[in-house]
């Protein structure tokens, strides 16, 4: 059974189509990414999947239940970490977790056990009884992730989980998410960070202007752009013909730097090195540049995903609180 099934889902706000007839399927245990620029419809899609918004048309099934008709069954089985903080600042970390556990019908013993487990998972055990308003932004986000997992959901939704966080915290959060794979939880992440999507996700749906323009594993998506680029630094005089290797789709040679476009860079490198060495070419260095999902996005839409101004704006908004 698919963890999530979305059929022709559309959401309009006063005639504006925020989500335009999207289709997707997420398998159990998968880490699935929704990658796109701000305003693409990621958050709206998530809100529909977590039953906070009703679709204008189309269907969505989460954990096997219709999000409109059986919303309560859906809610029991999902955990959500929103983009904005949703913790109660006037309560402690433990109280926030306990509150959540009770809302989800957990009994006392399960709550106590689970509170310990999730606090350990995100490294906040020693801050258990601190009021959340005294937490840093990164700590709050970690607590939110802990809280989302508190009731052991089948599916965890993360809306821009590392937005506005420093590099260190970001990496830690990535580690937590990676460790989730072992537990079999299905994870859905929305993000506009390329690195995040590439690193964490088994499959990614690229979304722009309310439509999904590509779905697949990061590897598969990269292949849409063309090949990997291998750059070799070679010594001495070179003959162009030396580099006429069958697997190379395109070769350029310039000042001792050779660029080759190949289908699968990782597999091509040993073959190329062998071939060149057998022809007596001295190789000084090799590097491999793979197209990123940003390249995929650009090639599909002609635009870039990242808008440099946003993160700064978000940071300002957080501070004012």
């Amino acid at each position: 059974m698919a963890a999530i099934l979305v059929e022709n889902l559309t959401k309009s706000f006063n005639g504006f189509k925020a989500v335009d007839s999207i289709n997707l399927e997420v398998s159990e245990g998968e880490v699935f990414g929704l990658l796109g620029p701000n305003g693409a419809g990621k958050t709206t899609t998530i809100k529909i999947l977590v039953t906070l918004l009703k679709p204008t048309s189309g269907k969505a099934f989460v954990a096997g239940y219709d999000v409109v008709k059986r919303a309560e069954e859906v809610r029991k089985r999902i955990g959500v970490v929103f983009q904005e903080p949703t913790l109660d600042l006037e309560l402690t970390a433990v109280e926030n977790l306990d509150f959540h556990g009770r809302l989800y019908g957990m009994d006392g013993r399960s709550r106590r056990r689970r509170i310990k487990e999730v606090l350990e998972l995100v490294g906040l055990e020693d801050k258990a009884n601190v009021l959340v308003k005294n937490f840093s932004g990164g700590m709050q986000r970690r607590l939110e992730i802990a809280r989302g997992l508190m009731h052991e959901p089948e599916i965890l939704f993360l809306d821009e989980p590392t937005l506005g966080l420093d590099v260190q915290t970001r990496r830690r959060i990535w580690e937590y998410i990676e460790s989730l794979k072992e537990s079999g939880v299905t994870v859905v992440i929305t993000t506009h960070y390329i690195e995040e999507a590439e690193r964490l996700c088994d499959r990614v749906a690229i979304i722009d202007l309310g439509r999904i323009i590509a779905i697949g594993s990061p590897n598969k998506l990269r292949k849409l752009v063309g090949g990997d680029l291998i750059t070799l630094e070679v010594d001495g005089n070179v003959n162009f013909s030396d580099f006429n290797i069958s697997i190379a789709e395109k070769v350029t040679v310039r000042n001792g730097i050779v660029e080759m476009t190949v289908k699968n860079g990782e597999e091509a490198i040993p073959l190329i090195i062998e071939s060149l060495q057998s022809k007596g070419v001295k190789i000084k260095s090799v590097s491999l540049r793979r197209p990123t999902l940003e390249d995929v996005f650009v090639s599909l839409t002609g635009r870039r995903i990242r808008d440099e101004g946003e993160e700064w704006k978000f940071w300002l908004r957080m501070r004012r609180r």
Binding site: V50, T51, L52, L53, E72, E73, R75, K76, I78, V80, F82, E84, P85, T86, L87, D88, L89, E90, L91, E95, F99, H100, R102, L103, Y104, G105, R147, R321
Partner: protein, 249 residues
């Protein structure tokens, strides 16, 4: 049952926040307390023909009801804070019905309002108010009903507000008129031709019920007070739950 757990935990949260905000707790009692002291002082020689008890005894229940009015409306409207700060989303995404959420908030807000009312009652003893001790039980009942009624009203308002700026309008154009037109500060009879307006005000019945319980003086019948308050509370709980269901986060 999970729904009851949910209502309980929402109620518990409201209580925890109330107890922890010590400055808000005592601070909000300041204004009504000064009202009580200085009005009863200033008006102690004023002669109101329809009044058969001392003005202090008349005013104190009115001030207690005032505290309940303010606290409960604020509690209800504070749901807007939860919406603005995102906490409401956490609640809405949980497997608990919207009705239970509304109920939990109403009970939580009403509890804090009644507690504030009791504190005010204690404080008024210091000013020379001498309530009838037997009346404390029926008074508590009226206080609870009044609190439920206006917490419900607060929640209903909160569904219409996008952010906390609407507070000003609510304080000035709702809470104050309701308070002043309720017989809290002067007998409703004295309003003359405007008196019928006061009869439309649920607060009037709460004030009258509390006053009757504590002093025996009543302008309306205590049974009618109870009936109106009870019916209004029931209706407002249903209305608030309905409006709450329709809000999007």
């Amino acid at each position: 049952m999970r729904e009851l757990q949910g209502i309980y935990v929402l109620w518990l949260r409201d209580l925890k926040r109330y107890v922890r905000a010590r400055s808000r707790l005592f601070g909000s009692l300041g204004m009504p307390f000064f009202f009580l002291i200085f009005f009863s002082l200033g008006f102690r020689r004023a002669h109101i023909p329809s009044l058969t008890i001392s003005y202090t005894d008349f005013l104190a229940p009115g001030i207690i009801a005032m505290v309940i009015l303010f606290t409960s409306v604020f509690s209800g409207v504070s749901v807007v804070w939860d919406r603005q700060f995102g906490f409401l989303r956490e609640i809405m995404v949980a497997p608990i019905s919207r009705t239970a959420i509304a109920l939990g908030r109403i009970l939580g807000g009403a509890t804090t309002a009644v507690l504030q009312g009791w504190l005010m009652l204690l404080a008024s003893l210091a000013v020379g108010f001498s309530p009838n001790p037997i009346g404390l039980f029926p008074a508590a009942l009226f206080m609870v009903l009044l609190a439920i009624a206006f917490t419900g009203v607060g929640i209903a308002f909160s569904t219409l507000m996008r952010d906390v700026h609407g507070f000003q309008i609510i304080i000035n154009f709702f809470i104050f008129p309701v308070f002043l037109l309720s017989g809290a500060v002067f007998p409703v009879k004295e309003l003359g031709f405007v008196a019928p307006l006061a009869m439309l005000n649920p607060m009037s019945y709460g004030v009258d019920g509390i006053r009757w319980s504590l002093t025996g003086y009543s302008e309306i019948s205590p049974f009618f007070d109870f009936f109106v308050l009870f019916t209004f509370s029931l209706a407002i709980v249903l209305i608030a739950s309905y409006l709450f269901k329709r809000t999007e986060v």
